[in-house]
Symmetry: C2
């Protein structure tokens, strides 16, 4: 329309200042007439990496999500990215298609996936087919074969350490309260618990393994079940701090003293674990750091992909560390 | 470049099928040569409302943010919008410019602002100058004059009710623990507290008003200060549930019984207030509903604006309701 080359239009749009005034005017008029808006997201991707990442999750744990968001946002800010969030129902049939549509609608550069979505082969293969870049945060083995980066959390080892600590405090009758099985972390933590018991020669008692969800309510209910047993277990390993806080609440309601009559350990090192009374023994899961690594890996991957360059190994593994507090201390 | 009218280009882009094959080919070649990507966000705005809203906040309260996000996302989902989140530092000098840039970079349709950003005239006037659409969630009076929609929370009335409840339980020596003063909610809650004391003929004792932040730590520290007084106050109204939970924790550390020796009330009705032992008296702030109203108002506003149509009154007021629990109950 302006009768100039593509290169010239590009120079005008990018304000390179090497265009003659009358040409500049013709191009600017054409841009105006065509209502042409340079697609900023696409331009940014071409020039320095696209502007918006998406964080996709299905998790009811407020602290986990906020810590994830904070960690991702720290890295986004440093790299001039914005963050779109997309909580979803991992059990929905159309979840994979929903994610592909979202990436298209919002023109996302890539996705950060946390469990259980990061652990679902059907979701990952749909993303692969649509050439969508992502980073996975996940627990345990059985990794979906994809060249895309991941951050692995070793829940097995951390759960083994917690159980070993409880055994070391003299406990033999130790209950386990589980979260949702759709989360691999639940399976890994249960396996770590079982392995530590076996190592110590303690028989696994299936009646002490209570199914539940990653919630305060599960803790309250499970403590009723466990405290009704005779004799009741002397220690509980709850699959996360919310369950542990609920178990503590339930014990208090029944006038059961913690830790004298019942030792309680959680998992995550969320504010819950520090703010209950007594504070909870837990495993310190560095959610903020995990999120930062995930976001940084994804951005590095996107840049390498754009430059058609090789990239370093972008994968990381974290082992949550045992934190001993008053809720399990020998008196 | 293709030698056709704008209208024809538009027909090709929108696949209207009323373009001759050779013209179609010329336009498609020009589009390809120019690497022209139709701006999807802008097109969506023109056709059915743009796709992405932004939620901007500066708040350390995980539960508040998660509830806000959930409420906004519920409405976004129903209306085919996505949500970008942008936590920021309200005290930063360039905050207004930062928001304008973000709206541009991410091609947002509009912003949802929560306190304190929603209460800062310098931010709002910069947004107005850049013709950015927004909805405000705010506390108290002194509304910035803008035709844009808002959701008002009447913290004064709710704080008055809580204080009146404490007085009704026989307390006269009632402390107040404040959050950040940059939040108008702090001022409004303090004013509600003072008004209820005055109404009951109780003199205001400035030494019982403790400055702090909306945090658990403020509660722990303030309880030390208050319990060191002789005689110490018999009741505390904490500006939110996190402060109240911290106050309860501090009282337990000192072996002070709640509510017999110290009654404690919070504000917000967050999970904190239900999960402490004893559970906390509080004011039920319907954050999820507030968020839903805000998002729905903004979307209605954007649609009316696009259609150049009038819209109904989109403003709402909420009064958080008193919820009495064991932490203030007469024994």
């Amino acid at each position: 329309m302006a009768g100039v080359s593509i290169k010239t239009v590009s120079r005008v749009i990018n304000k390179e200042g090497t265009v003659k005034p009358d040409t500049l005017q013709r191009v600017e008029e054409a841009i105006k007439a065509l209502k042409y808006t340079p697609n900023k997201a696409a331009r940014d991707l071409a020039s320095k990496g696209a502007s918006v990442l998406g964080y996709v999750y299905d998790n009811p744990n407020a602290y986990y999500i906020i810590d994830m968001q904070k960690g991702i946002l720290d890295v986004c800010r440093k790299n001039n990215f914005e963050l779109l969030i997309h909580p979803c129902d991992a059990s929905s049939k159309n979840i994979a298609k929903e994610l592909v549509d979202m990436v298209d609608t919002a023109q996302l550069a890539g996705l950060i996936l946390s469990p259980p979505l990061s652990e679902m082969p059907e979701v990952l293969s749909e993303l692969d087919q649509n050439q969508i870049s992502y980073v996975r945060i996940l627990s345990g083995d059985g990794l979906f074969p994809s060249p895309l980066p991941y951050v692995l959390v070793n829940d097995f080892k951390a759960a083994y350490d917690i159980t070993e600590h409880l055994i070391g405090q003299g406990h033999k009758n130790i209950a386990f309260i589980a979260g949702e099985e759709i989360h691999k972390s639940t399976i890994e933590r249960l396996n770590g618990y079982k392995a530590a018991l076996e190592k110590a020669g303690i028989a696994i008692d299936e009646s002490l393994i209570i199914k539940g969800t990653y919630s305060f309510e599960t803790g309250v209910k499970s403590s009723e079940t466990l405290l009704a047993m005779s004799p009741h277990p002397t220690a509980v390993f709850a699959c996360n701090d919310e369950i542990a806080a609920g178990t503590l609440f339930g014990a208090r309601m029944k006038g059961v003293d913690v830790p004298q009559e019942l030792a309680i350990a959680g998992f995550e090192n969320s504010p819950f674990s520090r703010q209950t009374f007594p504070p909870l023994t837990t495993a310190s899961q560095p959610t903020n750091e995990i999120a930062q690594h995930a976001a940084a890996s994804l951005i590095q991957y996107l840049r390498a992909k754009k430059a058609k360059a090789a990239h370093d190994n972008l994968n990381h593994t974290f082992i949550p560390e045992l934190v001993v507090r008053a809720s399990t201390e020998k008196q």
